[in-house]
């Protein structure tokens, strides 16, 4: 490693330079003394003649450096030329590096942007979100009521403060193009909690939370820019939002969008102290998201315990029945870091993908190292000639290093471009999966980090052939072109080890992807229980002024009547919520679209015990709903037009509900509530439908109620149209009809129910596609690895193969000989990979759907695939071996 030491010769060189010049000066002095000058004077004159010692040294150093630069430029040109002479090699290396690095940079950017990057607030590590849970009933995340907010704000002294955020949907631009948007009602302490200042204007004060002073709004920066075109004179303007006038008093800075990126307009949360009713705390009326900031030094668990203590204090004084349910449900109040709450659900998927791309990178590096070794080996004669002509090993090494840096730089540049492109694609997925996060961009520090580390990787890869050149006896290469040299044997052993490792890694990735694909296939095989493809959904928002009046009901009836006239619409119905909605196990606070959970008291509870609560999602529907959706009625009757506000309250439950709460008997005729009145009766049982997504099998059951019995309080209504016509054909007609009914009604959330089902699957689809892609890349890379190793083997053994041919080995035998080599390595890799997959796939259990991590089918299928690919990769070199002409091979020596 002499060349390595040379790098550290700087100090020596300085010392040498100094003594060289000093020697000269001393001789001059001596000369003058021997010419008869006094020593003192001689020294002085010599020094003057000599000139500035430091100046000369500086010039000597400059000369060296410029020589070094000249050489570097020369190396650069030589490398460029030599790489251009082998375009296949260069392209393979560059593309391999680019693909591997690009995938890594993009996934790491996403991981950083969503999980690792701290929120842009002062003390953001202490920023928490509080939520309730009812673990025993399967609700891991419920919203927080504003009464809890008031209690905590007053009494939780482990916290700096709290702010309450209640999602709000609004209609804006009613006089031109009515648009539906999302925003929030927030308490005025929200801005001080995050320690942000207005971009323009001012924020709310506590006074704005009082009824009558609450008609002010703060715009988020994005909304101000996109909707108002960054109007600088926006402050003080009055706009109509959901039919009411609001004064714009400020624009919030961009940072607050890191909390929830989907909010557009913020308005004050209004509450009247005299209207606060204790039961609201339990029933989660007027509930939302609660943000808090822990005091410095207070741990999450300590803060959580304090909130729990306050909860317990409250529930000591409530009705025993409520206390019983609180206990039954496993009620708890929890806190979690805001970041975790936003994106924690993606952590597993992203970590899996990051592990996957790191594996791919490893594979890619192995391949590139392999290619570099092979190239160095095949260039032995050229290098030997150059050495014989006087090039030192140092010069050869430097040139190879420049070559690998050139390749790496091209790979990094292309990789960054790839990452940029794939991030743009991924952003559309991410905002669909987690609407509350901001877009991911290529982030400066990450780009630098990735670039530097990939250049280091390139350097290491470049060192491999250099180390080999350093040791190899190049002179021998001129004479013994095809004979196996000792270095060749070392290279061969290293390569076969690398190939085994590649196969193992590829197998692990393939098994992971295989399990996800199998899960996805099983999800798709779930029958939703309704005709998702043929149903077009649109959601219509009611004007604020209609609420509570009969205009809601009459508008609904008009929609039913008018839209049924559209040619091609076979059936039409209404429902209170979008009939396909995500739920998972967390409760979204956006209640206008999400299903609401209801607890229905069982009528026939044993005497002396509190009512048993039957939990189910509640969905208000018009009588035509089941026909339109194609949901089969199993028992009893459907709703009719005569089930209205004045008639007894009736319900239809789904089969899951009937089987869960009335096992072994008919649910029809049963009812809810105490007293045995002939009210709140179940009149029918419908087939279970996957309204909350295909994956939510075994989740909450549904209870349907007539829309007409829900009062006139629907802020939004969903319309289902069954049609075989194309969405793009029929949508303008739907829009026209709506305008005929009422020009101020905004229409949103348009799409077939199938598209809504697909949206719910987009997280699963995204992870599957990405991991699938990575494992295919891994498969390709290991195929190239196997091919490269065997091709090199054949080249090395031409002589031996020739001898075998000469003594009578058939083509088949020779092909089998080479193929066996490849398959043997593949089998070794397979075994290691299977063990690795068995150990690693258990970490992805939460991403699987009805598939076990040790699913034998996936393992078997993937192993067969890999063996097949290995055989194909080995076939080409094997055929080349079989075509070796013994006469030529033997003469080649």
């Amino acid at each position: 490693m002499g060349w390595f030491r040379a790098l550290f010769h700087r100090r020596d060189r300085e010392r040498h330079l100094d003594s060289e010049l000093r020697f000269h000066l001393d001789l001059q002095v001596e000369e003058k003394i021997s010419a008869g000058m006094a020593p003192e004077q001689a020294r002085r004159e010599a020094a003057i003649e000599f000139g500035g010692m430091e100046l000369i040294k500086e010039e000597c150093r400059d000369e060296r450096a410029s020589v070094w630069f000249e050489q570097l430029a020369k190396d650069f040109l030589v490398s460029l030329r030599s790489l251009r002479r082998s375009p296949v090699f260069s392209a393979t290396v560059i593309v391999t590096l680019a693909v591997c690095l690009g995938a890594n940079i993009s996934i790491f950017s996403v991981l950083y942007g969503l999980i690792l990057k701290p929120l842009p607030f002062h003390g953001s590590d202490r920023l928490v979100e509080a939520y309730n849970s009812q673990d025993r009933w399967g609700f891991t995340k419920l919203p927080v009521s504003y009464l809890q907010y008031l209690d905590f704000k007053e009494n939780a002294d482990d916290f700096e403060g709290f702010a309450f955020w209640k999602p709000w949907t609004f209609t804006i631009g009613e006089d031109s193009v009515p648009t539906r948007g999302a925003g929030a009602s927030i308490t005025s302490d929200f801005f001080p909690l995050l320690d942000v200042q207005p971009l323009m204007g001012r924020f709310f004060t506590a006074e704005n939370s009082m009824p009558g002073k609450d008609h002010v709004v703060v715009l988020t920066r994005s909304f101000w820019e996109t909707y108002y075109g960054s109007d600088p004179a926006i402050i003080g303007k009055i706009v109509r939002i959901s039919g009411e006038p609001f004064t714009i008093i400020g624009v919030a800075p961009a940072e607050i969008e890191a909390i929830r990126a989907d909010a557009a307009i913020l308005r004050p949360f209004v509450w009247a102290p005299n209207k606060a009713r204790p039961p609201d705390r339990w029933s989660l009326t007027n509930a939302g998201i609660l943000y808090g900031q822990l005091k410095g030094g207070v741990s999450l668990s300590k803060g959580e315990i304090q909130l729990m203590t306050l909860e317990q204090r409250f529930y000591e004084h409530v009705d025993p029945e409520i206390r019983y349910h609180v206990k039954e449900s496993g009620w708890r109040t929890r806190i979690g870091a805001v970041r975790d709450q936003q994106t924690g659900s993606l952590k597993t998927s992203l970590s899996l993908l990051q592990a996957g791309v790191l594996f791919v990178l490893l594979l890619g590096c192995v391949n590139v190292a392999n290619l570099m070794l092979a190239r160095a080996f095949s260039r032995r004669p050229e290098l030997a000639v150059r050495q014989a002509l006087g090039a030192s090993r140092w010069v050869l090494a430097r040139q190879i290093l420049v070559e690998s840096m050139l390749l790496a730089s091209a790979g990094v540049a292309l990789g960054l471009a790839l990452a940029w492109t794939s991030l743009r694609v991924m952003n559309t997925y991410i905002t669909r999966i987690v609407p509350s996060v901001q877009e991911i961009s290529l982030n400066g520090p990450i780009v630098i980090l990735c670039t530097v580390s990939s250049l280091v990787v390139a350097l290491l890869i470049g060192l491999l052939p250099i180390m080999w050149i350093w040791r190899a006896n190049l002179q021998g290469a001129i004479h013994l072109r095809s004979r196996q040299s000792s270095a060749g044997r070392g290279v061969r052993a290293a390569r076969s080890l690398l190939v085994t490792a590649q196969v193992a890694i590829a197998l692990v990735l393939l098994v992971g992807a295989g399990l996800l694909i199998e899960s996805f296939a099983r999800v798709l095989a779930v029958n939703p229980g309704f005709n998702a493809r043929e149903i077009l959904h649109v959601r219509v928002a009611m004007p604020q002024t209609y609420l509570g009046t009969s205009k809601v009901g009459s508008t609904e009836n008009q929609i039913l009547a008018k839209m049924a006239e559209i040619p091609g619409v076979e059936s039409i119905s209404l429902s209170s919520n979008i009939p396909v909605n995500g739920y998972a196990k967390t409760y979204s606070t956006d209640s206008s679209t999400q299903f609401t959970l209801n607890s229905y008291p069982r009528r026939e509870s044993p005497a002396g015990k509190p009512d048993e609560l039957l939990n189910a999602f509640d969905l208000g529907i018009s009588p035509e709903f089941f026909d339109t959706m194609g949901i089969r009625l199993i028992e009893g009757r459907k709703f009719t037009a005569s089930d209205d506000a004045r008639s007894p309250k009736v319900f239809i439950v789904d089969r899951a509900f009937a089987e869960k709460y009335f096992p072994g008997r008919s649910a029809v005729g049963q009812g809810f509530g105490r007293g045995g009145k002939n009210d709140h009766v179940i009149v029918g049982v419908a087939e279970t439908a996957a309204l909350n997504g295909l994956e939510a099998r075994g989740g909450m059951p549904f209870v349907y109620r007539p829309l007409s019995q829900g009062g006139n309080w629907h802020t939004d209504i969903s319309v289902e149209l069954r049609t075989t016509r194309d969405t793009t054909d029929i949508l303008p007609l739907v829009r026209d009809k709506l305008r005929e009914i009422d020009g101020t009604l905004p229409m949103y959330s348009v799409g077939t129910l199938q598209s809504k089902i697909d949206t719910l699957l987009s997280s699963r689809r995204g992870v599957m596609l990405l991991l699938g892609t990575y494992s295919l890349i891994a498969l390709l890379l290991s195929a190239i690895g196997i091919y490269g190793m065997l091709a090199y083997d054949v080249a090395l053994r031409t002589h031996e193969i020739g001898v075998r041919g000469a003594i009578g080995a058939s083509r088949r035998q020779i092909m089998a000989l080479i193929l066996r080599e490849g398959i043997w390595r593949t089998l070794n890799g397979l075994l290691i990979g299977l063990a690795g997959a068995f150990l690693l796939t258990r970490f992805m259990t939460s991403l699987l759907f009805e598939v076990r991590p040790a699913d034998p089918m996936a393992y078997l299928a993937v192993s067969i695939l890999l063996l097949l690919v290995a055989t194909i990769a080995g076939y080409l070199p094997a055929r080349r071996a079989a075509n070796v002409d013994p006469a030529v091979a033997l003469r080649a020596e």
Binding site: H16, L17, S19, E20, L21, F23, H24, D26, L27, Q28, E30, F50, G51, G52, L55, I56, E59, C60, R61, D62, E63, R64, S66, V67, W68, G390
Partner: protein
């Protein structure tokens, strides 16, 4: 001839150094003395030009250096030609001759 003492063309200095070094391993001081001697005191090489030139030539692998004892008993840096240096010297010498002959021709023809 003061001007000639200081204003040696860079290429010329390199050529002179190579020529002097070609006679055998030699250190910097001796190179400057030798040039001065042979040119009968016409050419004086300043240290400020000599050492940068030596380092440049060494950097280009035309010269190689070795530390050994000088006559005085002290260690000195002795320069000698490399194979590349010898080749370069040959090429530069013939270039020089061709050019100086050409310049001579021009000067002579103009005297006519």
């Amino acid at each position: 001839m003061d001007a000639a003492k200081s204003e040696l063309l860079q290429g010329t200095l390199d050529l002179l150094i190579l020529k002097v070094v070609a006679m055998g391993p030699i250190h910097g001081y001796a190179i400057s003395k030798r040039i001065q001697q042979i040119s009968k005191d016409v050419l004086r090489v300043q240290q400020g030009s000599l050492y940068p030139a030596l380092h440049r030539l060494e950097g280009r692998k035309l010269l190689q250096a070795e530390w050994k004892d000088a006559d005085s008993g002290r260690e000195a840096k002795f320069y000698s030609l490399t194979a590349a240096g010898r080749k370069q010297l040959g090429a530069e010498e013939s270039d020089w001759e061709r050019i100086s002959e050409a310049i001579g021709l021009v000067l002579r023809s103009c005297q006519l």
